[in-house]
Symmetry: C2
Subunit: 910 residues, 2 copies
């Protein structure tokens, strides 16, 4: 009955040596960890854990300690006395312990630590005598009383600090260290008096009472307000309960051969092997946290305490081997003796994560698959862009939406024209606009980054910037931009007034976090280390999903290929239409009053498009390139109605004397009429995609011709182009049937005209629910499907992305109406159901149907895992996310195999 | 081998007495019909039919007559000779026949009739001698040559008419009738000469050659361009072929005891019993068609040819009894002998259809179910609205979209204010606007009808008008409306210039056809005859679907109830918000900067809403009323941004001297700021529906309170209110869970406050795909589902209704990309699949779940049939469509039972 229970019952108390790391549920995380370290023979100060079972009984039983708990506590304290040759509550060799909470799941908000428990007016004297250091003893007591008063008795920490400050002032002491033993003694007396005032009771001098109160306080803290909220948010069950760890005190503040510190088994920033950390000689843990003294690098210990350093290296190796991962270790040295108080898997930078995983696999510590699983896909985005130095302490002037990763610094400019002029001169500029339109493209090209006050993650600026791999922050609505006055202002975030930036002032943006800074900020450069390459090669050996890229230009295609893309999953053609030198022809095409006029304008565009496709197909020579025919509504290629009206007004003012102006008025009026007639209530659901191709056959015919003529040109040059023609926004199988016929007819014609035959495929995007629901019929006319999950998410939810993100989606996420933003992480419940339906129906009709995804979800690790499960052939994402996707695809394959193995194992064991 | 075939082969020729009405495939519709009439002993001139089999062989065999056809033709002609005692091609008693095409499916565009075949320069003399009427004989020959030349030889009809006109001029004859025998004889000579010139051949004098050429012409006409196009459009198989009917001529032009005419067995306009029709004495069929002489009512025959009249009454009764439906009969009288040439089911007006169906059922001719099936649901809409007199010959000045049925006449007015002023004075006005907004409500209320130049079937004007049962034409883009000048103009449709209408000019609109007229037009009033009531009662006995109405006011609810609605399926609450006297409070609510302000504004609205609900619940006392909480985006309650800007500009001009104006500027600026911040890229997918309810809980709480307080008030007055609270636009089950909790909490609170307990249910609309896909989880929080098929269609297709109808849907329908407009007739392939999924999942989770539909499809007969099949509990539609829905629901039930019976029968016979 040592542990307070009959055999077979769950025990109330476990000594560290009685547990192990698999007993987290019963011992809590910290308890299981201490047990495990004890088990493998590390120098852990002895102790025991009061189990979560005890806590659960306490809480469900009206806050009464379970029967037998007090006895068990006494028994186990007696065990500690035996191990340490000390006696709890005894003046001579008093046993001091720490009391800490430790839930099964990491839970901030639980009770803090109480150190030095067991001290009282009597034992403190014993400690002073034993150590011959009264100042040390009284300092320990002072700390204990303060912590106990705060943590167990619930008195505001600040009030103790106020008393301490008065004492320091009275003693003319600059810091706690300068208080002498006598001063500390009188401080303790003041504390005890103050506690009596506050609680109406004497401070408990009996160590047994102290420990019971502390245990009760830990149990009670399970149900404090902060803990309840935390559990609610993180969906942690309310009935887990917490364990309590009681451990013999060791003291890092017993002179220069003592100390306390933290180390990593490898460098957490670079991943280099060898222990890395810092420590504080002659100090207790709190002193490190308080930041009063500056710790020194652990390597210094080689000189000062070489044996301890060696012991730490030994322990570090032992723990890393045991846990098979880089560890973050807390230790204390008491008179040259090293104690380990805590170990956990160490947090690390992206760079370190990659290097450590690959190194460990090469060292044979883990397998390649485990190495792959060790790196967070999201993390490696940081390796691929210039970023703001994560170590720099910076204050952002505003925060917008992180629309395109990377950081940029430059002069703020407010028009595309200025951006172009300065950019051509080689100056670095950030284009700052309320929002951007196709008219701003010439400026965007020359800008280092883009910053807008309006728009969401799919606004023009965001899409263009991501496509170009340019840093971009959008929707930064704190900025008040006055384009005419060429300046923006923003309220100082400390409330100290308004900051104003005028054209030419240097600013910086961080597209990864959405932060905007005044002036220059320190940056770190992207690095593709050898280990990173190695890891990605392992991924390619492991994954079954193909990874393609979304790219619209030969430059992007080449970049994607260099980052490991094995094809283009989405080559949009509309950005080609938006290039400034083509916009005239595009607008003529739109303004055409009949088919003949439209064909004339299209014939101007044909050679340009052919050139585009030739470039991309050549960059991806031998790899498939999926080219989507024109998708956006035509009004996107026209200036905005408001702008046209304003310009007409301006021109009218000078028109009487200026023939040129009259001509421009006429042109603008044509544009205005057309823009008005093309305007739509809900453009996202309007006249776009294949609907354009059906009503104006000549547009898609021109594009098909450009693709096929480019194909022929490359074949003639000995290349192997692999074009795939993709028809967007199909909702009716007949749409695809009709357009497929027309595109095939163009291919036949080009073959006939040139005498060169070539391979190509025709497929469609599945981006509205109806196409997914009728995928069997759609598949009759498609060699491939590509899920356009952005639009599919919009239509399945009935969410307009920009509107939802601006108006209610944040509220939804904050209030847990929905778990994730479905535009970032694929909604597997709803949209996923449609995807599975489409895959099933599509493959039923055509088993060899190739199926991919080209929405932004194609670069999101969780969504990639779903794509793997759903049986897709490939994902496609922006070039810079290709490595992320390769890693995520490999992880998905490994996890799926594990799940299968687990299921087989379970089946075999039945 | 009489019929040209070995036993067992399909025959090439059938005498009329050898066929029957079930042989349409082989004999064509006309042939089968003639056979059937012969079979039941009617006086049909003898004849035979060359089967479609012969045509198919001819066509598939390079236009060669099947072996044996010519022989069979001769044999059957011999048969006719025997029956008539005449000889084909003989001068004495020559046999004359008609040759007509007759496909299995009615197919305009096939070859026309040739009459009097068998005449030549020889037999015409015989006919003249036999009848002692040379004029008659030459007139017959003249007609034959002309018809044969046109129809068989392919010479333009106009050219014969030109020759005829010259002859009339030369003879000073005002009409054909005045041409004498000799003149006709020389006319024939001219015709024959002309034919020789045109064809290079002599006109065939041999009757056998004539008949073979005529048969060949009929066969060939199967593949003429018009026929091919017609088959393509109507999806008629190309390989059916046509039959050819050869029939002995009878002559209505043999004096005053001869004649020809058409009769209906009952009055096709009123449905009254008794034969009804008209005839032309001494005439052949063509003369009726040509419209040269005016026919006289058939009742006149009672005096002139009483025996013939009695014979027609006898035949009429015989045919109606035989076909068990009202017949449309063609007859000819030759020297007092009545011949029947054709009978078919007679077309009839809606009123007649209802009366005839009910009368026949009462007479025992058909069963009640058959009576129900005899009336087209769509047709009876005409019985429920004042309409433009269908008999009036009117010229529309323009045609728009028929947004809300009914016709109206009134003075054109261009602002809601004017409409209100004149309307209050009792004048009838038509409100003419580019489009309407909530600000126009006070004018709409006083207008007889609404006419707009913009907008689609779901624009504000259309929805409001349908809700009010007010005639409305929208999107009439031919109108150029100048509101400031108070006039509109429209191009004259004959190209004769521009018509201009100023304020006060009388116009009329027809909301059933979309037509707009200048001035007043004759109208017909709706009639609910006794038979109509009877029919609908039979429907109610038969149908299993419930029929509810969409109604937002007590008046509409009462109307719906009087038309047979057994509940309200959709009571929208937004129109209540739009009433002018409330708009201020609504706008204050929207402008509120915090919850407290919002609650204050809502508290102003609460009593008004309570009054609304009390009225509707009382009107539907004892029946369920589904009330949808607020759905539209809030910006719909604000003035348009453009209007606000214009008004601010105007006010500024006077503001310096006018404090009042300054105040209004401030208010408008507030509104403008809010309207701008609320504006959305795609409002249909934006911040609306339950998303409002989630973010602003107080809005739905106010509405719930209003509903429940109204419920309590009615209970206290001894009534039985049955409120059903409907949450719109759910896409995430959690949305419904949260809102359900809040609404229930309000109900509990109201019960507690009033001490009155009441019943209510909470449910949701299924109107985005995700709700359908996750219907099992949604059903956990719902007592009912109601499919909002308008939005569900929009999101499933990715179509914005207004944009699609304006931009590409017409093109799609015209080019057969899609068969029906999915906003009129439910898309059973895509949207229907989601509905079936939702029904299945919903009922799996909650078997007693009540499921209805409240989109506009709820009033569409084809969609109602689908709802019946899909297992819905009820449909809901606009009040005026309730009778349509009752009829359609009954028909769906009958057809479904028949299908089951047929299947059982098929199963039993296997």
């Amino acid at each position: 009955m040592l542990h307070g229970r009959e055999p077979g019952e769950k025990r109330l108390v476990y000594a560290f040596e009685e547990g192990n790391k698999d007993m987290r549920g019963l011992l809590g995380g910290k308890g299981a960890n201490l047990a495990e370290m004890t088990l493998i023979g590390l120098p852990v100060p002895p102790g025991f854990t009061i189990s979560t079972e005890a806590c659960r009984e306490y809480l469900s039983n009206g806050k009464k300690f379970p029967e037998g708990l007090e006895n068990a506590l006494e028994e186990y304290l007696r065990g500690l006395e035996e191990k340490t040759n000390r006696v709890f509550g005894n003046r001579k060799h008093p046993l001091l312990v720490s009391v800490r909470s430790g839930a099964p799941v990491s839970m901030p908000g639980m009770m803090d630590t109480v150190l030095n428990l067991g001290l009282n007016s009597d034992t403190v004297e014993g400690l002073a005598e034993e150590t011959a250091d009264p100042r040390f003893a009284w300092d320990c007591y002072r700390r204990f009383v303060q912590m106990f008063g705060n943590v167990v008795l619930g008195i505001d920490h600040e009030k103790f600090e106020a008393i301490l400050d008065r004492k320091k002032a009275a003693s003319k002491a600059a810091s706690d260290q300068e208080l002498k033993a006598e001063e500390l003694k009188s401080l303790v007396a003041e504390y005890l008096e103050f506690i009596k005032q506050e609680t109406g009771k004497d401070f408990p001098q009996d160590p047994k009472e102290q420990i019971l109160l502390a245990v009760r306080a830990v149990f009670d803290s399970w149900n404090n307000h902060r803990a309840i909220v935390y559990r609610k948010i993180h969906r942690i069950p309310d009935d887990l309960g917490t364990a309590v760890n009681v451990q013999v005190m060791v003291f890092g503040n017993m002179g220069e051969d003592s100390g306390t510190g933290v180390l990593f088994t490898r460098n957490p920033s670079t991943g280099e092997p060898g222990i890395y950390g810092e420590y504080l000689p002659n100090a207790q843990g709190e002193d490190v946290v308080a930041g009063i003294r500056t710790p020194i690098p652990i390597s210094a210990m080689k000189e000062t305490l070489p044996h301890c350093y060696e012991e730490l290296v030994r322990i570090s190796g032992l723990l890393e081997n045991h846990y098979r991962d880089m560890q973050d270790i807390e230790f204390t040295i008491e008179k040259s003796k090293v104690y380990v108080l805590q170990t956990r898997t160490g947090k690390r930078s992206a760079r370190a994560a990659v290097k450590i995983a690959v190194d460990m696999a090469k060292e044979g510590l883990i397998g390649k698959e485990e190495a792959i699983l060790r790196v967070e896909p999201e993390q490696i985005v940081n390796l691929l862009h210039k970023g703001v130095d994560p170590d720099a302490r910076l204050k952002a002037i505003a925060v917008g939406l992180p629309a395109s990763p990377g950081a940029a610094t430059g002069k703020a400019v407010f028009t595309a024209d200025t951006a172009e002029v300065l950019g051509q001169r080689g100056e670095k500029v950030i284009l700052v606009r309320p929002e951007t339109t196709p008219d701003d493209m010439h400026g965007i090209v020359y800008a280092q980054g883009i910053l807008t006050s309006r728009g969401g993650m799919t606004c023009h600026a965001a899409i263009v910037a991501r496509g170009m791999g340019k840093p971009c922050v959008v929707g930064c609505d704190a900025l008040k931009i006055d384009v005419d006055a060429r300046r923006f202002s923003v309220d100082d975030r400390d409330g100290a007034g308004v900051l104003t930036f005028k054209e030419g002032d240097v600013i910086s943006i961080d597209g990864l976090s959405g932060r905007v800074f005044a002036g220059e900020v320190p940056m770190v450069s992207p690095e593709l280390t050898g280990e990173f390459q190695t890891l990605l090669e392992w991924c390619d050996e492991t994954k079954s999903l193909g990874v393609r890229a979304n790219a619209d230009t030969p430059q992007d295609a080449a970049l994607a290929r260099s980052l490991g893309a094995t094809g283009i999953g989405l080559c949009r053609t509309e950005h080609m239409f938006m290039a400034p030198e083509r916009l005239d022809a595009v607008q003529e095409m739109i303004l055409a009053s009949d088919e003949a006029e439209r064909r004339r304008a299209l014939s101007v565009l044909l050679p340009m498009q052919r050139g585009d496709f030739e470039g991309i197909l050549e960059a991806m020579d031998g790899l498939p390139v999926t080219i989507r025919l024109l998708d956006p509504p035509l009004h996107e290629f026209l200036p905005r109605v408001e702008d046209l009206m304003a310009e007409i007004d301006e021109l009218r003012a000078v028109a009487s004397s200026d023939e040129n102006a009259k001509e421009r008025i006429r042109k603008n009026e044509d544009l205005l009429r057309k823009a008005t007639s093309l305007s739509e209530a809900n453009p996202m659901l309007g006249f776009r995609g294949c609907r354009l191709g059906i009503v104006y056959p000549e547009i898609y015919e021109m594009q098909a011709r450009a693709i096929f003529e480019a194909t022929v040109a490359l074949i003639k040059r000995g290349k192997t182009p692999r074009p795939e023609v993709m028809i967007p926004l199909v909702s009716i199988p007949k749409e695809l049937e009709v357009l497929r016929e027309r595109v095939s007819a163009v291919a036949d014609k080009v073959m006939e005209e040139t005498g060169v035959s070539f391979e190509y495929t025709i497929g469609t995007m599945i981006e509205v629910p109806r196409a997914a629901l009728m995928a069997d019929e759609v598949a009759d006319f498609a060699e491939f499907f590509s899920f356009g999950t952005n639009d599919l998410t919009q239509t399945t939810f009935g969410f307009s992305r920009d509107d939802a993100e601006a108006k209610f989606l944040h509220h939804y996420i904050h209030n847990k109406i929905i778990r994730d933003n479905p535009f970032s992480t694929l909604d597997t419940d709803g949209v996923g159901k449609l995807i599975r339906t489409a895959v099933k129906l599509g493959r039923k009709a055509k088993p060899w149907l190739k199926i991919g995804i080209c929405g932004e979800h194609g670069g999101d690790p969780a969504s990639i895992a779903f794509c793997h499960e759903a049986g897709l052939d490939y994902v496609s994402c922006s070039p810079y996310r290709v490595p992320v996707a390769r890693l995520a695809a490999a992880q998905a394959a490994i996890k799926a195999r594990k799940d299968v193995t687990d299921m087989e194992r379970a089946a075999a064991s039945n």
